[in-house]
């Protein structure tokens, strides 16, 4: 898929740049994800039984990784998000590129996305 690490990173960086901007009013302490080395905000809204995620980070690589997660999880029903396997993270070789602390940050993001889905499904 990618010939070397630079192409992979350039792709992630481009994804980061293309991530639609989160409304600044949602950059609150409650929307901050802990466990990341950079600042990460994640906001969720439920529209027509689909959950729309928006997010931001002060680091562009982190932002690119969130963009991948949002591409997979956003605009899905709560049920689908809860049932979705997160194996694809391993499959696309993202985790091997991340150090343990960064991989923990990634797990925190996935966990937070699933928690939102659980919260909305209970409403």
């Amino acid at each position: 898929m990618f010939s070397d690490w630079t192409e992979k990173y350039e792709y992630i960086i481009d994804l980061g740049k293309s991530l639609s901007v989160i409304d600044p009013k949602f950059k609150t302490p409650e929307n901050t994800i802990k466990g990341c080395q950079s600042k990460v905000w994640l906001h969720a809204e439920n529209t027509d039984n689909k959950i729309i995620f928006t997010a931001d980070s002060d680091a562009i690589i982190t932002k690119g990784i969130i963009a991948i997660l949002i591409r997979v999880f956003s605009n899905q029903s709560a049920k689908d998000i809860i049932n979705a396997k997160s194996d694809f993270i391993e499959e696309i070789g993202l985790k091997q590129h991340l150090s343990q602390t960064r991989a923990n940050g990634l797990s925190s993001m996935v966990k937070q996305i699933k928690l939102y889905a659980i919260a909305y499904s209970n409403k």
Partner: protein
Amino acid sequence: MENNTFNIGSIRNDFPILNSKVKGKQLIYLDNAATTQTPKAVIDSIVSYYSNLNANIHRGVHYLSQKATEAYEDARKKFQKQLNAKSSSEIIFTSGTTHSINLVANGFIDLLNKGDEIIVSHLEHHSNIVPWQMLCEKTGATMRVIPMNEKGELIFSEYEKLLSDKTKIVFVNHVSNALGTINPVKEIISKAHEFGAAVLIDGAQALPHFKVDVTDLDADFYVGSAHKLYGPTGVGILYGKEDWLTKIPPYQGGGEMIDEVTFEKTTYAKLPNKFEAGTPNIAGVIASAVALDYINRVGLDNIAKYEKELLDYATGKLLEIDGVKIYGDTSNKTSVISFNIGNLHHYDIGSIIDNEGIAVRTGHHCAQPIMDYFNVSGTVRISLSFYNTKEEIDSLINAIMMAKKMLS
């Protein structure tokens, strides 16, 4: 005896890890302020200890126990000599700098009263802030802070204003881990002593770079870590003046630290055993002394001179890059450079150059008050050792240029 010739090629061969590859690239290790790499002599000493000498110390009448005890106590004498302490019983082995600081902070619980004051510097590592905050919570003492300036230096005149008869203890690092600033600790100690206050110096970032003389400094406590001194992890050093170490109570109870034990009362052992409860890191302590021997063979003066050359070279090269801002531009610093590039995130830069095999630290370096002062969430920090080379710095610069291009 010091070598007059400093042969970088042969020095690099002493460190097996420097020949290893990371992500297919030659490792370039520039995170020496976090931990230093270990020379083969030190690794061999650990292997040799467990192969030939392993026994518990100070207890057995048998041959191995006596040999292990001798080696352990020789290590203490080497640290005494290195720091120029008056007596080897003033050297306590701990698990690290953090442990050493906690031991002293805990010892001051009974010595402080409500209304007393303790002074910390703005340049401290969290491990030299948090134990004292805990002490303040327990005793009702108040913490005052020596402010810093834009250059990353402590403002001495402000420090003088903070001192009073209420001041009981002052704790300052010898060298800032985040910026590399060398603090005027001798003057800080002498001023504190005018008010009868004790001074603890955190020397974790000083000991690897230049000669430290605790008697000349007149420090009451001086602490450091072996793993930042080319030794193994899990060994810390606490120097304390005999008077102070006698005055403060033991930190942990257990074997080795006792004189007599009955269920009614225990009397404590004399120094240094009073503070070394339980079986210590014997292999680590012995290996730490081997690391000291190694550093002394290379020569601390040679190390300081070569590291200054590397620092100047790296600083010059970094400043050629558009948008680079270095934090802490004091002239009196060790080989540490903390920087950011324009609006790029330190984490992004660190992540990209990691793929080129380059190890740097990114983030707040456990010194958030310094980051707050400069109004940044963190920096990229390179910290150079005497085994680094100008070629490695050139590779770093190339990698940073690449990161900059990818991220812009």
